[in-house]
């Protein structure tokens, strides 16, 4: 199975890279950009074929390593590889 994982900053956590992207977009002439939040996208391919077990594994991966709960949230989708 394949997990498509998104790790994003929690609301209220300052995202200076997002701010820099806003400025760069404005300099390209995109004046309607109100805000940019940047994050990470991670794909994990698993040998596990049972969706429930895969889901539990990916949850733990996100909690223990792929995200830092102090400042980040995560969400993911599973699909047949």
């Amino acid at each position: 199975m394949k997990a498509r994982i998104k790790v994003t900053l929690k609301n209220g956590v300052l995202d200076p890279q997002g701010r820099a992207i806003v400025n760069a977009l404005e300099s390209l002439g995109f004046n309607g950009v109100k805000d940019v939040r940047s994050g990470k996208y991670i794909e994990v391919t698993l040998a596990e074929t049972d969706p429930a077990k895969a889901r539990a594994d990916v949850e733990r991966m996100c909690r223990e390593l792929l995200s830092n709960p102090v400042m980040e949230n995560f969400q993911f989708e599973l699909e047949e590889a």
Binding site: V13, L14, P16, Q17, N68, V70
Partner: protein, 222 residues
């Protein structure tokens, strides 16, 4: 005082701090490779600055799960003193030994310069030799040093007297409440972004950093 310095792939301040410790204690510093699980008997374990595992994913995230850091966490829980400098501080937060997290600097730039710090309390094993609140000068050199925790966590850390150092001049990296270093609950684990080992010899232009190691030396030789 028996001191050990952990060496990760990508550490680059391990020898500086080992040299400083050896000069202060008069005995050699043990160097421990990241794959080792049996740490030597130590009064102090140091996680040095650098770019452990290339700073992949998040600074300190990979190192926090290395075999040696699991052993360090166990020692810390048993009361052994642990010092994390710069990347070592990042590792200690990622490993859950210290609260908060270290994010990209607010201005997105690597900052390398001397900063002034206030010593928030001088009654811990790390700071006994300093005068309380008297500014000291220590260099910083980092890109991911913006200390972050949510407001409740910050209130708790401050309420428990666990802020070790604050930036007193310009805040160089956007750290919440100007925090440059924090303690664990039992005050025996310290993480800080500035590098005390880099101003620990008159030949380097100052000795404000040396007092941290001297304080530890006194604490462990009583």
């Amino acid at each position: 005082m028996r001191a050990s310095v952990v060496v990760f792939p990508g550490s680059n301040c391990d020898r500086d701090i080992a040299r400083t410790l050896a000069a202060v204690t008069g005995r050699p510093t043990a160097m421990v490779w990241h794959a080792d699980t049996d740490l030597p008997e130590s009064d102090l374990i140091v996680l040095p600055g650098g770019f452990s595992y290339g700073d992949y994913l998040r600074s300190g995230a990979m190192a926090a799960h290395s075999p040696v850091v699991r052993a360090v966490v166990e020692r810390a829980k048993a009361g052994v003193a642990v010092l994390g400098v710069c990347n070592g501080f990042q590792v200690l937060t990622e490993a859950g030994l210290l609260p908060g997290a270290l994010m990209r600097n607010a201005l997105l730039k690597y900052v390398c310069r001397d900063v002034t710090l206030s010593v928030e309390r001088n009654d811990t094993i790390f700071t006994k030799g300093y005068e309380e609140r008297k500014p000291i000068m220590i260099p910083i050199a980092h890109k991911d040093g913006c200390y972050f925790a949510d407001e409740d966590a910050l209130d708790r850390v401050e309420g428990e007297g666990r802020v070790a150092f604050r930036y007193t001049g310009d805040n160089p990296n956007g750290s919440r409440r100007n925090i440059a270093g924090v303690y664990s609950e039992n005050l025996r684990v310290l993480g800080l972004m500035p590098h005390p080992e880099r101003l620990a010899d008159p030949a380097l232009g100052g000795t404000d950093g040396e007092m941290l190691f001297k304080s530890l030396f006194v604490a462990f030789n009583r």
